[in-house]
Amino acid sequence: MAIIETHQLAKIFPGDIRAVDGIDFEVDEGEIFAFLGPNGAGKTTTIKMLNTLIVPTSGSAMVAGLDVVKSATEVRKRIGYVAQDVGVDEHATGKENLTLYGHFYRLDGNTIKERVKEIFDLVGLTGSENRMVSTYSGGMRKRLDLAMGLIHQPQVIFMDEPTTGLDPQTRASIWEYIRDLVSSKGMTIFLTTHYMEEADHLANRIAIIDLGKIIAMGTADELKKSIGGDVVTVSPCAVKDDECKEFIRRSDAVLTGKPFVTGTKPTDGELAVYVNDGASAIPTIMQLLSGQGIEVKTITMSRPSLDDVFLKYTGKTIRAQEGTRTSFAQIRRMRNRRQQG
């Protein structure tokens, strides 16, 4: 059953800035659904429409079966919100922070006491309840922040970039809490992120959003499969200059249309080539390019990552590439093994 449902949802800010430009999607109960996109794609604006903080310009959205504009107060009772910024009170203890929100959600004193204990346990803050938040570490604050969105056991939690700016260790522990919430409480989680690996590891389904529009949606595997095969990334230049651009343009022209190439995508300093079998394609690519007098400086092969999915659909990288890259030497070894086996 869909617990979030939007229809042509849009927010246009003054100056005709189409932050969110008519999006349709559904999130099922118990799902972790991720909105993946670069900064300024419209992720936060979407969250703020769904959690009633801003009113849509057009279109509609239903959360927990209620219209977010007409039944805003009722929606608020059923949702939790974890913002990008950690919104906790410095001059209060963890417990006081949490208790205040318990009151806002109209819980009675005993229920608040029980929940506070339970939630501190869940986010691993037991023992720090009565300490001032000003003495908390960054990770502890984020966990408290997370806890404050949970006190009323909401049906849906909205998390805006839940791990941005956190160290890898804290990020991993936050992921664990998020998974716990879904498995133990059956909550639905809608999160935004610009971290590929976050969407990949955490989400059941992903919507890729860019310039206010959803450009692809599905499970991580479905999205990766939509590219198919391997991605060979070729760079014909040592520095990114005009000559480099020209090399990339020419490389693109040489490779496009070749039977083993399923697609190409030029970016800044690199050319992504989508092929069915990367190991056998690499020598051919090298040959074709050197035949045109283009010297390949680096060539790498990878399984398609969400990065590549993003690149394919938007024509740009979401940020400095990362993921499971394979070095030239590794490719040679792989190829040798394949030939021997």
Binding site: L53, Y81, G87, E90, A92, F104, Y105, R106
Partner: protein
Amino acid sequence: MNFIRDTWYITLRDLRSRIRMPVFIFMTLFQPILWLVLFTQIFKSLGGMLGPGGGSYLQFFAPGVLVMMALFGSAFAGFGMLMDMDTGILSKMLATPVTRVSIIIGRVLASTIVILIQALIIVIVSLIMGVHLKTGAPGVVFSFFLIALLGLGFAAFSNGLALLLKRQETVMAVTNLLTMPLMFLSSMMMPPEYLPHWLNTVRQINPIDYAVVGVRDLISNGYVWHDLWLSLLVLAALFVVGTTFGTMMFRARAE
């Protein structure tokens, strides 16, 4: 019912976080005393100018300190709201079912409670220093009522300003631009008869002066009903304008 509960929790939160800032406690408790002692020392020789029955400068100025503290305490009340806006606490609160206006009213109430505590300290210190309370305890209560109206009105206005301007620097500049003339274009520090003619005219459109005159009557002169009614009327108007502006700005922010 929810409105009262939510307002109460917001007020408590505000007071609690103030109490936990040592600088704040110092400012709240010692600043009024400092003003009182310092100013009366500086202007000591003016006592003689106040004429027969005018008493000491302390007797003249103590009511002015009450109003001054109320003005400063409330004019900077919006900075708490700015902090909540900057840290994202405000957005977080707005995503809960909390009664919207409680968020601003609770803060304004907290500011006013602090102002009244300061007023009480000033009255006690003034008594120790030798001020004679002309109308006694009932007059003090009356003057506290006037101060509360001023505090509520200005604190709400300051919160509205914070919501409207959004930036610390701008709010600080506008607040300074407003409070300084409000304080000096009044009879707070100098009896009206010693003020230049133009200033005496200007002060009649300054709501702070109405507070000063009212409170000074109650503390030092007695029930001068003509002044008191005017004072009550102007401060009630200030209260209405301030809270209307504050809640309007808040509604605009909360949509």
